[in-house]
């Protein structure tokens, strides 16, 4: 459970595994935002393939990174959202941000 950051070709890929709640999201946010400030990537990819549980703190986490990236002119994508998170994602309306793949 945690976050794994990979930087290649000016792209930051953040692979998150385990549960995303208010507690764990605070740590993930800090690690990603620190990295963004240091390396100024062109693109950020949040990979949710290994996420086993998420509540609306995860939605807030995605929206927060979206805003940060947008303000810095960085492209952001969220990939591999597991099927079991679909109801939450649908309810949240984050599909309208155009960042889910």
């Amino acid at each position: 459970m945690g976050i794994n950051l990979e930087f290649f070709d000016n792209k930051l890929t953040a692979k998150i595994s385990g549960e995303i709640d208010h507690h764990s999201a605070a740590d993930f946010r800090q690690q990603i935002d620190n990295f963004i400030n240091k390396k100024k990537p062109e693109e950020i990819i949040l990979d949710f393939n290994e996420v086993s549980f998420m509540d609306t703190s995860g939605i807030g986490f995605i929206m927060g990174r979206f805003k940060t990236a947008y303000n810095l002119g960085i492209k952001l994508k969220v990939i591999n959202i597991p099927k079991k998170l679909e109801r939450l994602v649908k309810l949240s309306g984050i599909k309208n941000l155009g960042i889910l793949e």
């Binding site: 709640d21 946010r29 549980f53 509540d55 309810l91």
Partner: protein, 152 residues
């Protein structure tokens, strides 16, 4: 034959409003209701709703102090689950406004969707609150009984 609406088991859980306890609370209640043999989807819905209510106690009710969060959970013969999550924190002035989707007093990392999730993932949601006294969230969900003999 009509099933009796009989309470077959009950638990109480009190713990400090530390964010590390969010996963503890949802895992503990999930383990308790497992005796009703719910599906993975039913467990996920309930876990998510508990996580929302507990997080609200930590981030809103006790935002500038550490307080106690009180959970009571009852399960019934007919598959009904009743979960009460209570705090003695700051309370909510306008409950209707607080429950509106996207409303938040919590800043940019909060989505304002906690109550929306509790409402949609559970069958019933009731919120009562008094400013400076605290808030009680009552949630109910009926799961489909497949293995009635597992609780004696």
């Amino acid at each position: 034959m009509k099933q009796e609406n009989l309470c077959i088991n009950e638990m109480n859980l009190n713990f400090l409003s530390k964010s590390a306890n969010e996963s503890f609370a949802r895992a503990t209640i999930s383990a308790f209701i497992a005796q009703l043999d719910p599906t993975i989807d039913e467990i996920t819905d309930i876990k998510t709703a508990i996580s929302e209510a507990v997080t609200n106690c930590i981030t809103h009710a006790y935002k500038s102090e550490i307080g106690v969060i009180y959970i009571n959970c009852k399960i019934f013969e007919n598959g009904k689950i009743l979960i009460k999550i209570r705090d003695k924190g700051i309370g909510i002035k306008d409950i209707a406004q607080a429950m509106e989707p996207l409303f938040t007093t919590g800043g940019s990392e909060r989505a304002g969707l906690g109550f929306a999730v509790m409402k949609s993932f559970m069958d019933k949601l009731r919120v009562s609150s008094k400013v400076n006294k605290g808030t009680t969230v009552l949630m109910e969900k009926s799961i489909i009984r497949r293995n009635i003999t597992s609780v004696k």
